[in-house]
């Protein structure tokens, strides 16, 4: 029992992201409306962003900005920089750009959906398929 609880405490963050990711995947596969599919894609993306950021967390570490980097504050002594005191900056960097790129690609997805709507007058997938088959 204690082993299982330790496992839950150590890994529960991954389970949350997997749940979120599967909600997104289900929406992409099963939803009929194109905008709902796009929203599913965004939920999927959010899960990956959260996963990456969580890999950067370190116990007892602060945000990756060096304290008193340009000389010590009044009265304080100069201290060396230890890697254990700061969180891993790499996932933050990768996700920083991924979030903005995600917004831009969301714009492209919405533009395509708008174009589809202009052509077929609907965003429901089955109705679009029916119109294509009729031709």
């Amino acid at each position: 029992m204690t082993d299982f609880l330790e496992l839950v405490v150590a890994k529960y963050n991954y389970w949350i992201y997997i749940t979120l990711m599967m909600i997104g995947l289900y929406a992409i596969i099963a939803k009929n409306n194109l905008v709902k599919k796009i929203l599913g894609m965004n939920i999927f993306q959010t899960a990956i962003i959260l996963f990456y950021v969580s890999t950067g967390v370190k116990e007892g570490a602060t945000i990756p900005i060096l304290e008193h980097a340009h000389g010590p504050a009044h009265g304080a002594e100069t201290h060396a920089i230890h890697a254990a005191d700061y969180m891993n900056p790499l996932p933050h960097v990768l996700m920083l750009t991924a979030i903005v790129v995600g917004v831009a690609t969301l714009g492209v997805a919405l533009a395509l959906a708008l174009r589809v709507y202009r052509h077929y007058n609907t965003l429901e997938e089955d109705e679009i398929l029916a119109q294509i088959r009729k031709k």
Partner: protein, 276 residues
């Protein structure tokens, strides 16, 4: 389809949960992600680039190729939106338009080909126009300059606090989108036109790539900012710090205008006459 989707999602989720047992524990300082290259970044950033914010240093110096092409992706996304949606209407093809006489509040419908006498008394309004809420309009007009100053602060202060080109650019773009939503699209287009947006978006990417090319011309690797030291008149370490600021400004310009460009195209369905 719903059943198949559920089965696929549950199976994939089951495999991922099973695989997650082997992942490093939550907040483990000895995890593989925190032990290889990241200690080098944390310990050497200050002496190599003189930037306290490690995220900014890694973003725009150590992994600057990545960031340059991310900026290019954003630019390409904005251009893709433009090519997918934009339709240029000739003046005579426009449908009938609505004008509002500002002093009396009378709405005038102008048929195809009709013209309104050029005067300030009439303002063009959207088809689905409802009177703008005075509170929303006033608050947004008051807030927009402060949002923009904050955006510039976030860009300029990215070396010392959370911030940088991407964040500041998105905030600046949001301020312009707030203006478009609280007033209308034409208000924004009068202040920052379509051509200006397109040119600035390309200029942002060009500023980034141009800095890299300048480093190449000065005899070092592409985007190695220490080559800029003789141009900027500082030491090689400070030159890297200043180089980061230059490319961050390029990123900020590109991101701001990309956001505005995408919003303008999507909200007006590429016609640029009426927004949301």
């Amino acid at each position: 389809m719903k059943i198949i989707g559920l089965i696929i999602a549950l199976t994939t989720g089951g495999f991922l949960v099973y695989a997650a047992v082997d992942f490093p524990d939550w907040a483990d300082p000895q995890s593989p992600a925190s032990t290889h290259v990241s200690p080098h970044y944390i310990e050497k950033t200050m002496e190599e680039t003189s930037v306290p914010n490690i995220v900014t240093a890694v973003l725009a110096d150590y992994r600057t190729f990545d960031t340059m092409f991310e900026t290019t992706v954003i630019f390409s996304a904005a251009v893709a939106c433009f090519f997918i949606l934009r339709t240029f209407l000739r003046e005579e093809e426009r449908r009938e338009r609505l004008y509002r006489h500002v002093l009396t509040g009378v709405t005038v419908r102008v048929k195809e080909g009709g013209k309104i006498p050029p005067s300030d008394d009439f303002e063009r309004i959207d088809d689905s126009w409802i009177p703008h809420d005075l509170i929303i309009k006033t608050i947004c007009r008051l807030l927009v300059p402060f949002i923009q100053i904050f955006a510039l602060y976030v860009v300029a202060h990215g070396h010392h606090s959370p911030g940088g080109g991407f964040q500041g650019g998105v905030i600046f773009g949001a301020s312009i989108i707030v203006l478009a939503m609280s007033h209308d699209l034409r208000t924004v287009l009068q202040r920052i036109g379509e051509k200006v947006v397109g040119v600035l978006c390309a200029m942002g990417v060009l500023l980034y790539a141009g800095t890299g090319a300048l480093c190449l011309l000065l005899g070092l690797n592409f985007l190695d900012y220490s080559a800029l030291a003789p141009v900027l008149g500082v030491g090689p370490v400070m030159a890297r710090s200043h180089g980061i600021l230059i490319v961050e400004i390029g990123v900020a310009i590109a991101v701001t205008t990309a956001m505005v460009w995408i919003y303008n195209n999507v909200s007006s369905r590429g016609k640029y006459d009426e927004g949301l």
